[in-house]
Every structure is written in structure tokens, then in C-alpha cells.
Amino acid sequence: MKFGILVNEGPYTHEASDSAYLFTRAALEKGHQIYRVFFYHDGVNNANKYTEPPQDDRHIVNRWTKLAEQYEVDLVVCVAAALRRGIKDELLAPGFRISGLGQLVEAGIQGERLVVFGD
């Protein structure tokens, strides 16, 4: 199955961000394809490389980066939502890129399922 993933909430504040990662990782481990992960609303904060959680906690941003390295997952941060929240190219963690909302609609068209994680 080819999935598109939409992440609508920020890291640590909301479990949606964890669930999206866990689902994506599980799908890849089972041999499914992830067409794209799109970060929208406060979800854009999942891409901030300056994120520094306490050491005994999971690192949500680095976790996405590692997944992108391992499986070449396309991690796309919405430009309009990002700019509104001060997220710019220079503070993106490796593996993330900034692009337009068209990338979300395209994920809906190209994926067999679009799975939305949010409130």
C-alpha cells in the first residue's frame, strides 16, 4: 500500500506527532511505501533542528531525520504554515524540505490512502 501522511500537530504538546511517526515507521517496516509525509499547522514545528528535549526523552525531530535517511522518506513542511511560525530553511533538520500546499493535495492524489494525524 502507498500512503500519504499528514501531521497537523507539534511535537511533545500533542501525541498526534508521535502517532504519525510510529505509524509511518511501522508501515515502512512492513514493506509499505510512504509517498510523502506532509507537515501542516503546528506540525511544521516537528522540523525544527534546534529542538532539544531532555536526554531521557525521545527526540522527535531526530527520529524523523533518521527515518528519512533509512528509507528516503519525503518530509515536506508547508511553506505558508512554516513562515507564520518562524520556521525557515536555515533551521530545518536534515531530511526535511519546505514546499507548498500543492504537495499535500498531490499526496492525496498519488497515495492510495491519506492518513491524517491531528486533533
Partner: protein
Amino acid sequence: MSEADQQDEEGGGVVKKFMFVNRKAPYGTIYALEGLEVVLISAAFDQDVSLAFVDDGVYQLVKGQQTKGIEAKNFSPAYRALEGYDIEKLYVEREALEARGLAEEDLLVDVQLMSSAELGELMAAQDVVIGF
């Protein structure tokens, strides 16, 4: 960009049923505003787009919104512009409207009222459902 690239970027002629489900009041959170931004972009992809308004989402369509006092932009006129983007399927959950003391004439655009059950059936028939 060549025509082939354009085709590819926009989905290669595939037409899917997209439903955007608006569940939140317009100004308490950003979901309604950013949701509308997705709807407007989707119009460029020649898909079968519809909008559903349920729960507090019905407040998004209420006439006469005044936002100066909260220093927020009144984006409600954009719903009237949807027709110009060929987005004409606007469904409102009848129960949600009635529970809030609202009626069809309180809304700023023409909509189709539906029961929760009817709306549920319509959702089940979609290819892509995105809730805001």
C-alpha cells in the same frame, strides 16, 4: 515547465473525491483559516472537491462576522469566492446548525443541509477526507 511535468505534478489526470471537513469555530484556533488555504490550493488540481461543515465548524459560515475586537483577519468573505474556484459542493450538518440556534438564512453562502447520517454516507464515498 513542460506540459508533461505539469500533468505529473498535478496528478496526471487522476480525479479523486476530496472532502474537507471543517469542525472548528473560525477564530479560536487556526484550523479553519489554514484549512481554507488547502481548499483553495486544491482547486488548482482539478479534483472533485467538497466541503463539509460540522460541529462548531458551522460558525465559519455565519454572516456578519466582526473580528476587529480580537485583531484577527475576517476571512469569511473567502467562502463566497469558492464558487469562482468551481468549488460549489458545500454541505452543512443540519443537527449542528440547529443545536447552535442557527438556520440556513444565517449563512453567507448557499449550502446543502444534510443530516449527520447522510453526511456520514457521503464521507464513506470519498477517496480523501481531511478534517480541520
